[in-house]
């Protein structure tokens, strides 16, 4: 019996392993080709990301004149400075506040758009995307004019309704609010478009099933839409956190970090310290502080996505 078994099983196995060999060789050849074709891109990424990052790390260990290596000295000085702690706090307020607002507004807009009939939808979608396609340095300049203490058009409007003028960029909390407002204005369309795509990918029949199961509109949103969109929401939030954390132009153009460095975020502060004050190594150290903060965010968000993928797919 056993001999028969091996005999019978032996023949196709041999044929199979022969095929597997050629297949393996083929795969190896394909991956070699793939690697060669991707090489220019890998080199480009190496040149544009890895090299500057490595260089920044090395730079951050030098003294101001860049004549001696002082190890972690720059980091120690930064952690001892009140201004830097304020920058960390402001960066977090700015990034987290802006991302939450962008996500909520983006979701709301996406939901509204999703329920507009297809014909009108294109028009509205196009218009709502405008803030996102204008170069932020330009549009921020526009906002700066609207916030200007003496000519503020927003204050002018408020005055009509008998609301007192607001010191948009002069008072710390209003200035913080203003930079977030501009970032939200600029970034919401991105969330909107991502969420709109995600909404469209939820099959209508799920809503019909939920409606028959007894769900109201809100319950449909809570139990069907949101869970179905969870991954897209996580990914856009992570992506936006990274970009918003590293945001530079809005703060630079709108407040230039003021009043009294209270609206500085990592990127603008790094620029301030490294270029404007001429302490390049310390500027590098400031920007490197973004890494651990982002790494923590990324870890938790990606872990959630991974877990859900394993469960659902």
């Amino acid at each position: 019996m056993a001999a028969d078994g091996t005999l019978v099983a032996g023949a196709p196995a041999a044929a199979g392993s022969g095929r597997a060999n050629t297949m393996q060789r083929f795969a190896r050849r394909r991956s070699t080709i793939a690697f060669l074709m991707a090489l220019p891109l890998i080199a480009l990424i190496g040149g544009l990301v890895v090299y500057p990052a490595g260089y920044a790390m090395w730079l951050s260990t030098l003294n101001r004149r860049m004549t001696a290596n002082i190890g972690l000295g720059n980091f120690e000085i930064l952690l001892d400075s009140d201004t830097f702690w304020m920058v960390i706090m402001q960066s977090c307020i700015f990034a987290v506040g802006a991302v939450i607002a962008k996500a909520l507004i983006g979701f709301w807009l996406a939901h509204m758009l999703h329920h507009i009939p297809a014909k009108g939808q294109r028009k509205w979608r196009g218009m709502l995307l405008i803030p996102w396609v204008i170069p932020p340095a330009l549009s921020t300049l526009g906002w700066w004019w609207m916030f200007d203490p003496s000519y503020s058009s927003i204050n002018w409007l408020l005055n009509i309704f008998a609301v007192p003028a607001v010191p948009w960029l002069g008072e710390p909390w209003w200035a913080r609010f203003s930079v977030i407002l501009v970032n939200v204005w600029y970034g919401s369309p991105f969330f909107m478009i991502m969420y709109l795509a995600a909404l469209k990918s939820v099959p209508d029949q799920l809503y019909e099933a939920a409606a028959i199961d007894g769900a109201t509109g809100w319950q449909g949103l809570r139990y069907v839409t949101l869970p179905m969109m969870q991954n897209i929401i996580s990914i856009t939030v992570l992506f936006s956190l990274i970009v918003t954390f590293a945001n530079y132009d809005i703060v630079r153009v709108l407040t230039n970090g003021g009043p009294r460095d209270l609206t500085q975020v990592f990127a603008s502060y790094a620029f301030q310290v490294g270029i404007l004050s001429g302490n390049l190594p310390r500027g590098a150290a400031v920007s490197l502080f973004m890494f651990p903060v982002l790494a923590v965010f990324a870890y938790f968000i990606l872990r959630g996505i991974n877990r859900r993928n394993k469960e659902q797919m």
Binding site: L206, A209, A211, I212, D213
Partner: protein, 367 residues
């Protein structure tokens, strides 16, 4: 459980397309009614109006004594099984089935009891912790049915629930659905385009065509006494043969004359019924199963004999289908597989004229 009444129900989509053109239908308590018809005839639209997923453009739908035209789906107390199951991908099988009860604020113990009971009926007890992704098509189908059963609604609605399954599983699930209905006895409206499903499942079949009801009746009645040419052709597989023929009087009896060589006598019992139509050009209809090999022991006077040479012979195992042409009309006969037949060779055939139909080509009504 409840009765369902449709009164002059109309569905008009924007653009003026009338998908459903005023149908009347009364469905009794506990009844299993199947809507059947070709693609685009308005079956799904009708079902979705009962569910409340489509607005009703005209007429009235009444479920359990309440007119539900303006009642949203969640308050109609119905459950629906969709063609692609529409299970919630992010919920486990248990949560999928429990969802409707959770929303209706049933207590935990009751939900558990009902879900486990449904799982037992459907034999999916071991799948309760899985997500829909990890289920086969047949298992998803069961879960979708479970979701309907736990609700214990007034009416079950099914929209082509088996059409995504392979042929074997479809037959199995068909039996399953019938079994479930016999257990829970909930009033059911079931949509399909497959007439075999319709015949096997239904207490009553509703044949629809072009947004109208052609005929309503128990499966056997539709099979033996179709009222229109459409129903005659739609019910039965392979479908009924139609051949233009002239009704003539010969002596005291009637005959149908297709060609000079093909003249078949009408059974005496039908003489009175057909007499007013003598001399007219009509359609002669006969099902393939009533066009068979001659049986030596069969001596009923209504059996007529003739010979024809089949051009195509299709052995199906349990039967052999013969196709031949009369006056350019394809005719299908159904032979016992034991009978030797070959394409191009004359074969003796017997027609059971008791099973014949005559159709008025002007009105398409069966006479």
């Amino acid at each position: 459980m409840a009765q369902v009444h449709l009164r002059k129900v109309v569905k008009e989509y924007e653009g003026g397309v009338q998908a459903v053109k005023g149908i009347d239908l009364d469905i009794a308590d506990h009844e299993f009614v199947v809507l059947v018809g070709p693609s685009g005839c308005g079956k799904s639209t009708t079902l979705r109006m009962i569910a409340g997923l489509e607005e009703i453009s005209g007429g009235e739908i009444d479920i359990g004594g309440t007119v539900v035209n303006d009642v949203p789906p969640r308050d109609r107390d119905i459950a629906m099984v969709f063609q692609n199951y529409a299970l919630y991908p992010h919920m486990t099988v248990y949560d999928n089935m429990a969802f409707g009860l959770t929303l209706r604020k049933f207590d935990k113990g009751e939900i558990k009891r009902r879900v486990e009971n449904a799982a037992k009926i459907l034999d999916i007890g071991m799948l309760l912790d899985r997500k829909p992704k990890a289920l086969s098509g047949g298992q998803r189908q069961r879960v979708a049915m479970g979701r309907a059963i736990v609700r214990d609604p007034k009416v079950f609605l099914f929209d082509e629930p088996l059409s995504n399954l392979d042929a074997k599983l479809r037959v199995q699930m068909r039996t399953e659905i019938k079994k479930v209905h016999q257990t829970v006895r909930t009033t059911t409206v079931y949509v399909t385009h497959d007439q075999v499903e319709a015949m096997t499942l239904a207490d009553r079949v509703v044949v629809m065509n072009h947004g109208k009801i052609e005929q309503v009746g128990p499966p056997q009645e539709l099979y033996h006494h179709p009222k229109t040419r459409f129903v005659a052709g739609f019910i039965g597989s392979p479908s009924m043969n139609f051949i233009p023929a002239r009704l003539e009087e010969v002596g005291s009896g009637l005959v149908v004359r297709m060609t000079d060589r093909a003249v078949l006598p009408v059974p005496a019992a039908r003489t009175a019924r057909y007499a007013p139509h003598v001399g007219r050009e009509l359609l002669f209809g006969i099902r393939p199963e009533h066009l068979t090999e001659p049986h030596p022991n069969e001596h009923r006077p209504s059996i007529a004999h003739f010979e024809a040479a089949p051009e195509v012979v299709e052995p199906m195992g349990m039967e052999t289908l013969l196709h031949f042409w009369v006056e350019g009309h394809e005719i299908c006969a159904r032979f016992d597989p034991a009978v030797e037949v070959a394409p191009g060779k004359l074969a003796a055939m017997a027609v059971d004229m008791d099973q014949m139909h005559l159709i008025d080509p002007k009105t398409d009504l069966v006479l």
